[in-house]
């Protein structure tokens, strides 16, 4: 668990060309320790770029990113992921399709330790895995030996969530993780997310296009537009926001920029 700080972030794509797009201009955001933040915003508002900068897939042009006291700005992605868990929009990205459920879990179980010449599957851990899978309520506990590629999108995303949160984390990043699922699976995965986040008390950033999820879940709500946060509400203030309010603001800014 740690706070997240983005300080004076500047980021543009294809700089010094005619198609230059400035995503962030002196962007600042601080997320307190243990907070669950929902982030909404239109396409191109910078949500995913922000997540990519936090996780190390995209470098900011200038500015600094902190997780707790650690300066992440120049750390390679794989060193950040030691403390950050991420679930992607695409269920295929958080798991390995050709490996079985068991093999996926065994790999995740070893996170933080060296991947050496010991046997990959520890038979003694089987019951622990079964128990963890049972909590997902997806029937995965009976599918330990099934290749993950054969599972449904909802099952894969639930598994990805379990894998991302298996080891102790400082930050959980959810990148539109319910967007590719059907409404029922989206609901299940969202409830599961809430359960895990509350249980682990982990700082969480959830980017979503689902305004209802954003309003219902989380302690803080941020609406981004053109690289700035246009709504930022916390606690009691947040609970007064209804989906219709959000939609109104959303429409207003969209009309302003001519969409």
């Amino acid at each position: 668990m740690s706070s997240v700080r983005l300080e004076h972030i500047h980021k543009s794509f294809q700089p010094r060309t005619v198609s230059e797009t400035v995503v962030f201009k002196d962007f600042n955001l601080e997320i307190e320790d243990g907070t669950f933040v929902s982030v909404v915003g239109s396409n191109g508002s910078g949500k995913t770029t922000m997540l990519n900068m936090i996780c190390g897939n995209v470098d900011p042009d200038s500015g600094k990113i902190f997780l707790g006291d650690t300066d992440l700005t120049h750390l390679p992605a794989y060193k950040r992921t030691a403390r950050i868990g991420r679930v992607f929009q695409d269920p295929a990205k958080g798991t390995c399709a050709s490996l079985t459920v068991l093999e996926n879990l065994a790999l995740a179980d070893n996170k933080g330790q060296p991947y050496g010449f010991r046997r990959s599957i520890d038979e003694k851990r089987m019951d622990v895995y079964r128990h963890q899978l049972q909590r997902l309520h997806m029937g995965l506990e009976d599918k330990l030996h099934v290749p993950v590629g054969h599972l449904s999108g909802g099952q894969r995303q639930a598994l990805a969530l379990l894998i991302a949160t298996k080891s102790p984390l400082d930050l959980l990043v959810l990148d539109e993780h319910t967007a590719a699922l059907d409404p029922k699976s989206a609901e299940t995965v969202m409830k599961l997310t809430e359960e895990i986040v509350r249980k682990e008390q982990v700082t969480t950033i959830m980017v979503t296009h689902n305004l209802r999820f954003a309003a219902e879940y989380g302690d803080r709500l941020v609406m981004m537009h053109e690289g700035k946060s246009v709504i930022d509400s916390l606690g009691h203030d947040k609970s007064s926001y209804k989906v219709s309010d959000l939609l109104d603001t959303f429409n207003r800014i969209s009309i302003e920029c001519g969409n």
Binding site: P76, Y78, T81, C96, S98, L107, P114, Y115, G116
Partner: protein, 294 residues
């Protein structure tokens, strides 16, 4: 078919089986079309030949081939991962560079011979076996070697490192998510693949007691055809992928030998190899389409 021809098929098929296991790792597991084996296969052969000619014990020469292949594979990986050069081009660069390296290793001659000098087939422990037991002693030694390599690879693929290698080819963002440097895993996999290619070249050189710097020509096509043919025909069975790779190589060698028996002029051999690979790819596609429908 007489015993002599059968022996040739088995002997070369098994040797190419080692190569196929290496290419299985780069092509099937890592999804990396690695052209550097065109250079590492003759590298293993040339190094083995030169070392034996210089009086180095045959087994040590073979071990040197293995290591040289691993280093070359590592360079392909570094070019691709650290310098961000495309997978195909990284392989072409290493393959081209190795052409010179191989000439330097052989001392400038295209063919390096070491007739009559001790090889792994005439040194201990192989020399304890009788010269012929139906087939020649060479074949038995090769089979034991292939079996040994297969068992080591099977064990390796069950370790944590082996599993993360399989994950790497599947989904590198998953590997990154586990806090592991996915580039390093990729480089490691290419090292193993090319180490096995060079080992395979080294053994082939010791069988024929000479090495030819041209012997790498078409080796990628041969190896890929073996791997694809094997996985298409045997992929659905319970066999281990290493076994399937070796079986593919044997089958491929059989096809070539049959063509030669049918009096195909040897000039057409490379053409046939290309046709065989194309056929294997098409067969694989048709089969997976059928399975998707059912």
């Amino acid at each position: 078919m007489n015993l002599g021809i059968l022996e040739t098929i088995l002997r070369e098929g098994f040797i190419y089986g080692i190569l196929a296991m290496g290419v299985y790792i780069t092509y099937k597991i890592l999804d990396f079309p690695d052209l550097s084996v065109e250079g590492t296969f003759p590298l293993g052969a040339c190094l083995c030949a030169s070392l034996i000619a210089a009086g180095v014990p045959a087994w040590i020469a073979l071990l040197c081939s293995l290591c040289a292949g691993a280093i070359a594979g590592m360079i392909t990986g570094l070019l691709h991962v650290r310098l961000k050069i495309s997978d195909l081009l990284s392989g072409i660069l290493v393959m081209t560079a190795l052409w010179s390296v191989n000439l330097i290793v052989t001392g400038g001659t295209a063919i390096k011979q070491f007739f009559g000098l001790p090889t792994i087939f005439t040194s201990l422990p192989a020399s304890l076996l009788p010269e012929r037991m139906g087939f020649s002693r060479k074949l038995y030694v090769i089979i034991v070697l292939v079996l040994l390599i297969k068992l080591v690879l099977d064990w390796f693929l069950q370790t944590k490192l082996g599993l993360i290698l399989r994950a790497e080819g599947d989904n590198d963002s998953f590997v990154t998510g586990l806090g592991v440097d996915s580039g390093k895993i990729r480089i490691f996999g290419l090292s193993i693949g090319n180490a096995l290619a060079a080992l395979s070249g080294g053994i082939l050189a010791q069988v024929s007691e000479n090495a030819d710097i041209n012997m790498g020509k078409g080796i990628v096509v041969l190896a890929l055809a073996s791997v694809i043919l094997g996985s298409t025909l045997l992929g659905k069975t319970k066999l281990k992928p290493t076994t399937i790779a070796v079986a593919g190589a044997l089958l491929y060698k059989l096809c070539l030998q049959v063509a030669l028996l049918l009096k195909l002029p040897s000039n057409y051999l490379k053409l046939l190899m290309a046709v065989l690979l194309t056929g294997a790819i098409l067969l694989d596609r048709v089969k997976s389409r059928k399975e998707a429908r059912s």
